[in-house]
Structure formats: structure tokens, C-alpha cells
């Protein structure tokens, strides 16, 4: 590690996650899965923290990156956007990262987590990665952030070019990209890909995706067994530990808990009044207050199709690399945000609204995310057609200067009043 300060952030993550995990455990009636979730966070950053000691490489990567490959090669992944999100959510330290990002010359229109990532590396607040991996799945920001990071860290990098559609040749293109990346990583690490291990990971990924599907089914229950923060925890499992034991453990526990909640007719909130669909991601630094507002108003998040609707399909462990590529085509985020809008994005949202009996939808219009916002009107019109009102809240997912808690509360209260009136 280059300086004493380097490890501080990671250590604080671990300490905070451990603390939250302990606090959760000591709370009567608290879900054990949440304890596992915090432990998962602690584990994840522990891996990064110990990587040097254990002689492992750290690979910093953008969202929705196929880290199965890294796990199979014993390279420690560092999810860059999650790391800035956590900086906002756990430590409330995002402002200085964003300030540093803008000092580097990154325009305010650039997605804030990406400005934050650059700021984080420039401030040397997290360990220097040995390699930078980035991809155009999901947007121009993920596609363009890697080169500056390579320069800031002096690390080599690989850009994984993800095809836009699924016409003939596109899957094979991605497989080719993955092959080349594996070769690149073998050269950097001096270690060979462990294909057997990758097969095992794929096998577990199948299990993981099945668990996701099962959980999605369970969440149709009335009253809803999960609250607003639930889905953000839920999706993290695949972001951090795809095809890993930790994810399976957490998801299995969660599934079992949901089952028993449903059996006992226990809702996540005491008096369920509003079943909501959340589109995109709320300001993460306000998550605590959102949970309070939702609880006090009897609101629950029952569906988040942009992040939870997986495509049909099973991966073949005997063709592990092909399966890694295929998984990129299965993930909910690709369905909802990548490829032409004419695809499954809008029907997914409409169908979810019906299946989950939602009373209303909230679109968190993150100003740094241009391509998702461009679909807001189309989504709103489609939902209005089935008589589901949609509230749009302009926001930033980590920048605290964009919305105040009061302002968000006011909007939500107005929406609840409106739903009540209907």
C-alpha cells in the first residue's frame, strides 16, 4: 500500500459493516439475512484489504462487469460504483470525492459515482488497483471512465466491449472479448485461468439466478415481506459475489425468511397502504430517511423491474466462458437499460406493475444517467395506460447537494396523499 491513509477507507467500511451486522443481530426480530448482508459487505472489503498480504491482485471494475472470471482466477474484484455508493451510504464522505473529481476536470454532467471513483483514486483513499477493467455495458460513463483511471493509478487496463443487441454474432463477439481479457489477466497476474473453478462458479450462478427468481415470485405476496431498502441489498449480492458461496447463503436465508413471513402473514410494514414500484435507484445517502418515511406511511417497494427481472435461460457449466457471456444477456439491467427501447424494457415494467399489484410507481430520475431518463415519458405513458400513476423525482444517487431530505419527503407525501385520494 502506498500510504498509511490508503487502507483507512476500506478499514472503515469493514468496521462499519461489522458494526451494522452486530447491531442487526442484537435487534429482536431482526432478519438474519440482513446480518448476512452486512457480513457480505465486510467480507468483500476484507478481501480487498488482505489482497496484498495474500499476494492477490486487485481488479477495479465498473458495474455489471463479469467478475465471475476474476473469482475463477483468484483476482480480487473491487466494484468501483458500489465503493462510491458505500462511501455515501455508510460514511457520508462523498462530497470530498466529488470535489476531487471536479478538480481533475470532470464535468458536473458526468455521472457522480464515476466522478467519485476518479476522486477516490486521486486521493489515494483506496488501495491502488493492479488492473482497471471497464465496459460499455451500461452507458457512456462506464465506457469512458477507464482510461483516466488507468492514468491516475498507473495500472494497466482492459476495456470489455459489450455488444448492443443480440443479433447473430454479438454473443460470439462478447465471448471473444472475454477470451482476450482472460489472456490479458493471465499475463498481468502470471497465473492461469482455472477453468474448473469457473465451471463451479457458473453452476452456482445458476443456483443464484434461480434464487433471485424464487424471491421475485415470493415478493408478489400481500402484504409485502420486504421494505424499500430490501431491493438494494438484494441486488448487491450479485454485484459483489456472483456465483459465490456468500451470495447463495444470503439469498437462501432471505428466501426462507420471506417464505416464513408470508406464511405468518407478516408484512414488512405494520399497516401496508401503498404497494410501490421503484424505478432506478433512490438517493443512497437518504436511504435511512426513506426507510423511515416508507415505514411511517405504510409504503413498501414490491417491484423494481429495472434491477430484478432476469431473462429466462440457464447457463451451461461445461461451457464456462460462453456462460459468462450469456449471463451478461440475462441480467435485469441489460434488459431494462441497454439495447433498443423497443425491447423488453417497457413491457417488463408494465407486466411487473400488474403482477405485483402496485398502487403507484416512483421514478428516481438520476440526472447523471441520461439514457435511463430518456425513457421516463415512455414508461410513464405505459403505466398510465394501466392506471398506475408515476411520480418522478429528479435526484442524484450520491450527491447530497442535489436534493434535501425535506424536499424528497414532501414529494413522497404528496404522492401518498394523491394515492390515498384515488
Amino acid at each position: 500500500m502506498s500510504s498509511a491513509g490508503t487502507s483507512t477507507k476500506i478499514e472503515t467500511f469493514i468496521q462499519t459493516a461489522n458494526l451494522l451486522s452486530r447491531m442487526n443481530r442484537s435487534q429482536p426480530g431482526a432478519r438474519e439475512s440482513r446480518t448476512l448482508y452486512y457480513r457480505m459487505l465486510a467480507d468483500y472489503y476484507n478481501n480487498i484489504h488482505r489482497a496484498r498480504q495474500e499476494g492477490k491482485l486487485i481488479a477495479a471494475h465498473t458495474v455489471f462487469f463479469p467478475t465471475e472470471v476474476l473469482y475463477a482466477m483468484d483476482i480480487v474484484p473491487m466494484h468501483m460504483e458500489t465503493t462510491t455508493w458505500l462511501s455515501a451510504f455508510l460514511l457520508k464522505e462523498q462530497s470530498e470525492l466529488l470535489a476531487k473529481g471536479s478538480e481533475l476536470g470532470l464535468a458536473p454532467e458526468i455521472c457522480s459515482p464515476h466522478r467519485g471513483v476518479a476522486g477516490m483514486f486521486a486521493l489515494q483513499e483506496i488501495p491502488k488497483p493492479d488492473v482497471i477493467l471497464w465496459s460499455n455495458l451500461i452507458c457512456d460513463n462506464t465506457a469512458k471512465s477507464g482510461e483516466l483511471l488507468m492514468e491516475l493509478t498507473g495500472s494497466p487496463g482492459y476495456f470489455l466491449d459489450n455488444p448492443f443487441q443480440d443479433s447473430p454474432g454479438e454473443l460470439d463477439y462478447l465471448i471473444g472479448e472475454l477470451k482476450e481479457m482472460v489472456t490479458f489477466l493471465e499475463e498481468v497476474s502470471g497465473k492461469k485461468m482455472n477453468w474448473e473453478k469457473l465451471s463451479e462458479i457458473i453452476e452456482r450462478t445458476n443456483k443464484e439466478i434461480d434464487l433471485y427468481r424464487e424471491i421475485n415470485e415470493l415478493r408478489k405476496a400481500v402484504p409485502s415481506p420486504m421494505n424499500i431498502s430490501g431491493y438494494l441489498e438484494l441486488i448487491s449480492a450479485d454485484y459483489l459475489f456472483p456465483g459465490q458461496v456468500q451470495a447463495i447463503e444470503y439469498l437462501t436465508k432471505l428466501r426462507d425468511e420471506l417464505k416464513s413471513s408470508i406464511l405468518n402473514k407478516e408484512g414488512a410494514v405494520t399497516n401496508e397502504r401503498f404497494r410501490l414500484m421503484n424505478l432506478f435507484i433512490p438517493p443512497l445517502h437518504l436511504l435511512g430517511s426513506l426507510v423511515n418515511i416508507f415505514d411511517e406511511q405504510g409504503a413498501v417497494s414490491v417491484a423494481e423491474p429495472m434491477f430484478t427481472r432476469w431473462s429466462d435461460g440457464k447457463l451451461d457449466p461445461s461451457k464456462p466462458l460462453r456462460s459468462v457471456a450469456q449471463k451478461s444477456f440475462l441480467i435485469p439491467e441489460r434488459r431494462s437499460m441497454y439495447g433498443p427501447l423497443k425491447g423488453p424494457a417497457i413491457p417488463d415494467i408494465v407486466e411487473s406493475a400488474e403482477q405485483y399489484q402496485v398502487d403507484g410507481a416512483i421514478y428516481w430520475a438520476f440526472m447523471g444517467c441520461r439514457h435511463t431518463c430518456a425513457a421516463i415519458k415512455v414508461i410513464k405513458e405505459a403505466l398510465n395506460e394501466i392506471d398506475v400513476p408515476m411520480l418522478t423525482i429528479d435526484c442524484d444517487i450520491i450527491d447530497p447537494t442535489v436534493n434535501s431530505e425535506d424536499e424528497v419527503r414532501e414529494q413522497l407525501m404528496q404522492f401518498f396523499e394523491m394515492l390515498e385520494d384515488r
Partner: protein, 385 residues
């Protein structure tokens, strides 16, 4: 820049086309004859294929000035770039109502969403989007070649016709001719005193994607001849290069030149990157040659590695003897925004100052832009002493 008003009859012809666009006389004649006109969105859409199908390809551009984009703000949301919003506003206002098709590539988020919403809200008989890889590798070339083939066959199916190699070769020739002539036009700008200004060049370029290439080529020939005999000479206190987001507003360039700079070259997709590389039919199928050219062409900021683009920029700086670079980036044009710290550093390394402007599409370069350009020119002037 010292200049008198230009007196070039052919140039006026181009200017008239731009003034009338999107509803030019030529286009209405074509439509009256029952022929088709397609709009295309990015320089990664292979125009030759549309041309070979007997369709006039015109480039979709936005309003020539900064406009109130009331509908587009509502449809595309306020955080998509003003280029895509300006184009959409024109589309939803019916300015492009004669288009028989719209073709786009998965080039950037703004362009792809413009395409998505265009086909969702604006009645259009044919639409197609190509997956455009972001790399220059042979694998990327083969994927893009597949996409070009797919586009061609989709078009053939829609038109119930066959686009054969002879037609493709003819289109390649017509387009290469235009590229060659535009290159000649640019060559004239390498001189100390140029017969054509930067803003005038942009007007020629604008016309180049708004006319039939055949007619454009004919007129550009005459213009080149007129220019060779012209006594008009433009000279600036500083030789400038304009780079950054899509921009086709001559007023913006003119405002820089009115302040005493001379824009001698650029890195814009509406100018240099439109004509820069020819299609080389050299022992390969015409379709493959087209696909090679489009992916390998002077790259947009969307491509990785960006060094390819930076190298080309540096090469142009040498060739055109550029004193300073003006970067204009439209707000929310994320690909260029990400590259800004990188290119700034590279230019610093070779001692070329850069002025970076945040703009909106169609800006005329008034107000603060003017003040900043003026200060930049003064700084360049001071460096010379």
C-alpha cells in the same frame, strides 16, 4: 481574422441549401418523383448503402441556433444533450416529415435514445439501428461487418430490391469523390492566407450532407475552381483548431473568427471526421471495404482507446500549424467530457494551449463564450511575442 465578404456564386448556392434545409428544393423534387429520403444520425452509419439503394441519405441535424426545446425537454428529459433534443424538437415539429426512414448506430447514449424516441413518437416507415463496436480490433471489424450486412439485407427486404456490388461500387466512388474534394478544400486551409474561412468551410460541409452527393460534387468542383482564382484571402492572428461535440453552426466559428482567430481545421464529426478517410476497395468485397472504412475512420470520442483520436488530433495540429485548440463540449456530451482531462494533458505536453467551452448545441458564441475566446486569443498573441 481580416476578411471582406466573400463573393463566390457557388458558395451562395450551398448557403441557400442550408438555409432551406430540411425542406430544400432538391429534396422536394426527389419526393415528388416518388423517391425516398432517409435520415441518418451518426458518422458510423454507412451512407453508401442507403445511396446504393437509390435513396437520398440526409444527415439529421438540429436547429441552426440555440432554441427553446419545449417538447424535446419533455420527451428526452433535460439531461440528454441539446443536440439530440434539438434534433428531436425538429422531428416532433414535423420539420423532417418527409423522411421515409431513420438509421442510427449504438454510438452514444444521446444518439441511441434520440433514435428510440424518434421511432416511438414520430411516424416513420423504416428504422434501423446498427450495433457499433467501440474498438478497432479485427474482431470488432468482423462484428461491424456483420452489422453492415444485416443493415443491407434489412433495407433490401424493406425495399424488395437487391443492392448489388455494382451499385455499391458506384456509391463508393461518388462518396470517395466527395471526400477527396473536401480534402482538397481543407488543403487550401494549410496556407498562411486561406481563400476560405472556417465558418464558410462549415457551410460547405453542412451542404455536403444535405444534397445529393452527385450535385454536391459538381458544385464543389466549381467552388474549388473559384477559390483557386479568388483574390480573397483570410488571415488570422492565431491559427485555431475546433474540437469536441457534434457542432454544425457556422455562426459559432464566425464569432471566433470575428474576434481575430482563424479556424484552420477541426476534429468535428460534422466536418473533418465526415470526409477524412476514403473507402479503400482493395481486393475486398465492396461491403467489407465500406464497413472497414466506417469503423476505422477518424474516431469519435466513443471509441477505445482514445489515443487513436488524440494521435490524429496531434497530427492535424502539426499539419495545419495550429497555435491553439478550442474545445466545445455540449453539456451532457459525456464521451467528450470524459476525454477532456486526457486531451488537455496531451496538448500541454506538446505546448498547445486549449480553451475548453461548455456549450449548448446551436450556440452562436455570444456572451461568456465570446469573452473567453477573446481572452484566449490574447493569450495566444502574448505567447508569440
Amino acid at each position: 481574422m481580416n476578411t471582406k465578404s466573400t463573393c463566390l456564386p457557388t458558395f451562395e448556392r450551398f448557403r441557400a441549401v442550408n438555409k432551406a434545409f430540411p425542406k430544400t428544393q432538391e429534396i422536394s423534387e426527389i419526393k415528388q418523383r416518388g423517391e425516398k429520403v432517409f435520415g441518418w444520425l451518426c458518422t458510423y452509419v454507412p451512407e453508401e448503402i442507403i445511396h446504393a439503394a437509390g435513396i437520398l441519405p440526409v444527415r439529421i441535424t438540429g436547429y441552426p441556433r440555440e432554441m427553446e426545446l419545449e417538447d424535446a425537454n419533455a420527451y428526452l428529459y433535460i439531461n440528454n444533450c441539446s443536440f439530440s433534443r434539438s434534433c428531436f424538437q425538429m422531428g416532433i415539429s414535423g420539420e423532417y416529415d418527409y423522411l421515409d426512414g431513420v438509421v442510427a448506430g449504438s454510438t452514444c447514449d444521446g444518439a441511441r435514445r434520440l433514435f428510440d424516441l424518434w421511432r416511438h413518437y414520430i411516424d416513420i416507415p423504416y428504422s434501423h439501428i446498427l450495433t457499433v463496436p467501440r474498438k478497432f480490433t479485427s474482431r470488432a471489424h468482423s462484428l461491424y461487418y456483420d452489422q453492415v450486412k444485416l443493415f443491407k439485407s434489412s433495407l433490401e427486404q424493406y425495399l424488395e430490391t437487391h443492392i448489388d456490388d455494382a451499385k455499391l461500387l458506384n456509391s463508393i466512388q461518388v462518396y470517395n469523390e466527395a471526400r477527396g474534394k473536401l480534402k482538397k478544400l481543407y488543403e487550401l486551409r494549410k496556407a498562411d492566407k486561406t481563400p476560405i474561412s472556417g465558418s464558410e468551410t462549415m457551410e460547405v460541409l453542412n451542404a455536403s450532407f444535405r444534397m445529393t452527393k452527385e450535385s454536391f460534387n459538381k458544385h464543389l468542383d466549381i467552388l474549388l475552381d473559384e477559390l483557386s482564382r479568388s483574390r480573397e484571402k483570410h488571415h488570422g492572428e492565431a491559427r485555431l483548431m475546433v474540437m469536441g461535440s457534434v457542432m454544425n453552426n457556422p455562426e459559432f466559428i464566425k464569432s471566433i473568427e470575428d474576434l481575430g482567430g482563424l479556424v484552420v481545421t477541426d476534429e468535428l464529426c460534422t466536418s473533418t471526421r465526415y470526409w477524412s478517410d476514403p473507402v479503400v476497395v482493395d481486393g475486398v468485397e465492396p461491403l467489407e471495404a465500406i464497413s472497414k472504412r466506417y469503423l476505422n475512420n477518424y474516431p469519435c470520442a466513443r471509441m477505445v482507446p482514445s489515443e487513436e483520436r488524440f494521435d490524429r488530433i496531434k497530427k492535424m495540429i502539426r499539419e495545419y500549424r495550429v497555435d491553439g485548440v478550442i474545445s466545445q463540449i455540449i453539456r451532457y456530451c459525456v464521451p467528450y467530457a470524459h476525454d477532456l482531462p486526457l486531451i488537455t494533458q496531451r496538448l500541454q505536453e506538446i505546448g498547445i494551449p486549449i480553451l475548453s467551452l461548455d456549450v449548448e448545441y446551436g450556440t452562436s458564441g455570444s456572451g461568456q463564450v465570446r469573452t473567453r475566446v477573446q481572452a484566449f486569443l490574447e493569450m495566444l498573441e502574448a505567447r508569440k511575442r
